[in-house]
Structure formats: C-alpha cells, structure tokens
Amino acid sequence: MNAILSTLQTGFTRQFLRYEDQRASSSTANTTGGLVRLRGFTRRFGDNAIIEGLDLDIAPGEFVSLLGRSGSGKTTLLRTLAGLDSAEGQDVTIPQTRAVVFQDARLLPWKRVWRNVALGLRGSDVRQRAEAALREVGLDHRLDAWPLTLSGGESQRVALARALVREPQLLLMDEPFAALDALTRFRVHELVLRLWSVHRPSVMLVTHDVDEAIKLSDRVLVLDKGRIVAEERITAPRGEREILTVELREALLSKLGTGRIEDDADIAAVFDDKPNIPF
C-alpha cells in the first residue's frame, strides 16, 4: 500500500499553488532541526500506560496532524506538548512559546472578546494587537461582544486569534473543528491554512477526521494505544489532494481500525455473552 502511495505522491509535479507560494520551502525547514523533540516519551496513570516509548519530531513551520481514536492518547500527548502536564525527567523538548486552540473554544465568558484575545499579554499596545489579531480572523466587528453571544464558528475564530496573537512557535489544536457544521468547518480550514502560511508556526492538529488531516497537513501521524502506528508525508500541494484522498484515506483508516466492535476490547466484552443481537 505504501509503495502505491509513494508512487502516487511523486507522480505530482510540485506546484506552488495558493498556500504553497507564501511558504518558505518546507524541505529546508525540515533540516533546521526539530522544534519539538520527544524520545521514548512515556506517560502512565497508575499501572495504565497511556503513551509508551513515543518518538516525535516536529520541524519549524511544519503542519502535522495526529489521528487517533478516542483513548488513543492524543489528548495526553497534546497536553504534554502544551506544557500543561509536566514531563520532568523525560527526554522532551518543546518550544518556549506555545498556544492551544481547544475543541470547546474555552473563552472566558466574563471578558469581552478582545480582552479574551489579550489575555496575559503585556505592554501598552495590547488592545491594538488584539484588534489586529481579530481583524485577521474577520471578527474586528465583534471586539466588545460577550463570548456567550458568539456562534460556534465565531468562538473558534476568537480562540484562533487568541492563540495567534502570541506569535507561537508551536500552535496546538485539539479537534478544533469537531463541533462546527460542515460549511463553517470548511471556511475555518481555509482560514487556518491562510493564517499558518502567514505566521508559519509549527502546527500540531489533533483530529479524528482523516479527510481533514489529509487536506491540511504536511505529515499525518496515526496514534493507537499510545504508539505511532503509521506516518504519511504528503507532498502534493494543498488543493490537489482529492485524488490522493481515496488511497491515503484507505491506508490511514485501516490503521485507525475498521470501526467494527471486535476492534475495541471494552465494547466487545459487552457483547460477549449475547453474540447474536440482530440489528
């Protein structure tokens, strides 16, 4: 399967389209050394190993997607990269400046939109910087709105502005589009790509949507039971990936599991003693 994929990928002449043209060449970026570097990373809760012996590198400016089912350790890995969980005594390098966009936007409801964006910023031009960031996500007309009056898509854009206003070296996104409707999700995809091409942070996108991962990223990782079980680099320009999608999708989905009950021991156990339930 991988052989077929790689011939497919090399079959594409590298064209600088839309987002590619604003990028520094990703191949040079990849050789400048890892911004994120994990070696043999392990996290346990009691006897339960969530992540075991995981190696991960992310280059500056690289867009990486992390696929995985619920319970695969995605969120645990993201929390470590965000510095929310201490990784003391482990071989873990993360950059100084990081920002997270969560699935639920997690705006502080008691602060107006621009103050949410400006949260924790220092200096005299905080308001201007927040305004500029909100302008970038097309929300400069909602500066003084209360977060609870925003739609889901607007909230996520504010969360995006709040992350980007810090000019992070590493932008972490935890299923940020999962709660959005299809059309809004599509628009926010475009917005994320444009902002990424302008600001050039390294991005780690946690998602369970294979198509989304293929559409957006330079590299797709599949995490299962705390280990990386598949890794695919996508060199085809964004916007020309529809053909790829079918094949790559199959490959990645097979790594994620078939979606059959037998794949999940816990759920399968529920059905053990009643094998013939007609659906």
Partner: protein, 259 residues
C-alpha cells in the same frame, strides 16, 4: 365580550386585589371596633404614625443607628468570610486549616451566642455588631469556597496554556468564575443580618428600630410596632435590590442578562 365581563376578567388576574382587600377588611374591622387598637392599630392610624415619626425625625435617627449596626457588622462578617473563603478555596492547606473550624461554627446558631456575647462585650454596641458579624461570615465563606472549587478546570487549563502565572489565573479566571456564587452568599448574609439585627436590638438598646419596638410594646403602641415591622420589610427589599444591582453590573456577561 360585554363590559362587565371585561372588568371581571381583569380583576380575576389582578395580583394586587387580595392584599388591598385584606387592608380594607383590616381597616373596616378596626373602625367597627372588631379589632381593638391595643391588639392591632388600623392601617390609617399606622400610616399617620409613620408620617409623624418621619417628620419628627424619630424614625430616621433610629434607622441611622440600626443601619450603622448592620453596615459595620456586615463589613466585618463579609470581609472575614471572603478572606477565609479565599484561603480555604485557593489552597489545600488552607482548606485543611479553615474548613473544619467553619463547619463547627456552622453548627452553632448565631443567636444562641447572645448570652455569651453579652458576658464578653456588655450591652453596648459591640455585642450587636459582633452578633451580626458572626452570623454573616458563614454564607459568604461557604459560597465563595464552593464557587472557587466549582470553577471550570478547563478554563484554568486554557489560561495556563497561555502562560498565565498562578496569580494571573486567580485574578482573570478563578475569582470572576466564583463571583456569581459569592453574590449568592452576599444575598444570604444581607437577609441574615436583618434577622439578627431584630434580635440583637432587643438587648437593652437605647436607640434603633428594636428600641422603638420595645418602647412601643411597653406603651402598647401597636401602630409604632407595625411601622417598625414595615421598615424591617423595606430594609429586606432594599438589601435584595442592592445585590441585584451588583449582579446586573458584575454579571452582565451572563446570557440571561445580556440584552
């Protein structure tokens, strides 16, 4: 619909009707001698007494004394409640040190301490203020404490991911998140303070609403007693309006209050 039907329909929905009817019955009972004045003064008599007491300055001056007791007592009680709530809510050690004491305190009805406070503080202003302060600590403490502990951990995580220091997390996330609970506690404390005031002012007071009532009792002036009861009720309403005013300002972000 005919005219009389319309009126009947309106009256059947008028919530003011039954209180007014009761007042009229009361007035009629007093005028006919059914209710003796030493049992209960007529509404009209109460009203004219109220006007007299306001004009003579008797009511305002005593109200100022009572108001002062409430304000000082509340200021002490609420401040203590906030400080203890913060200590207990924001740190594990603080909780271990403070919470057991507060739970013990909770089991002692504040008014039961009256005799002890008289022994300690005499019969001046101090025991009255101390009783109000003692009684109003707990609602503020408990609500602030549980408000802090109830703040959404995910919001704190988000603030942490943006590099906010512990102090900044407390200021921007935890305290605003606990504010609605604190205001609930404040509302409880305000109504309790009025309740305690009523009892505390029965302790050999020489001024204040309780003094007026005690005096009126000795002279069987039911009209003055009713006037004072009305003032207590108004104080309660004002206290509630005050907290609602605070909430409208401080909690403007809440959807129910967003216009």
């Amino acid at each position: 619909m005919t005219q009389p039907n319309l009126i009947l329909n309106y009256l059947s929905k008028a919530r003011w009707l039954s209180p007014v009817a009761l007042l009229l019955l009361w007035e009629a009972g007093s005028r006919s001698g059914l209710i003796p004045e030493r049992t209960l003064a007529a509404p009209s008599a109460v009203l004219s007494t109220l006007v007299d007491m306001v004009l003579s300055g008797e009511l305002p001056s005593n109200l100022v004394v009572s108001g002062g007791r409430i304000l000082i007592g509340l200021a002490i009680g609420v401040s203590l409640g906030i400080i203890l709530g913060l200590v207990s809510g924001l740190s594990k050690q603080g909780e271990v040190a403070v919470d057991p004491l507060m739970q013990i305190k909770r089991t002692i009805p504040a008014l039961a301490l009256t005799p002890l406070f008289i022994v300690w503080f005499g019969i001046g202003e101090t025991p009255k203020v101390a009783l109000i302060a003692f009684a109003t600590v707990f609602p503020v403490y408990l609500n602030l404490y549980s408000g802090i502990r109830g703040v959404d951990v995910r919001l704190v995580d988000a603030a942490r991911s943006f590099g906010l220091s512990r102090a900044e997390q407390i200021w921007h996330v935890i305290l605003p998140g606990a504010l609605p609970s604190l205001l609930v506690g404040l509302r409880f404390s305000l109504s309790i303070s009025i309740l305690v005031l009523v009892v505390a002012e029965q302790i050999n007071a020489s001024a204040g609403l309780g003094y007026l009532i005690n005096n009126a009792r000795d002279f069987m002036r039911t009209d003055i007693i009713v006037v004072c009861l009305m003032v207590y009720a108004v104080l309660g309403l004002l206290a509630d309006a005050f907290v609602r005013f605070l909430e409208a300002g401080a909690l403007a972000w809440r959807p129910s209050l967003v216009g």
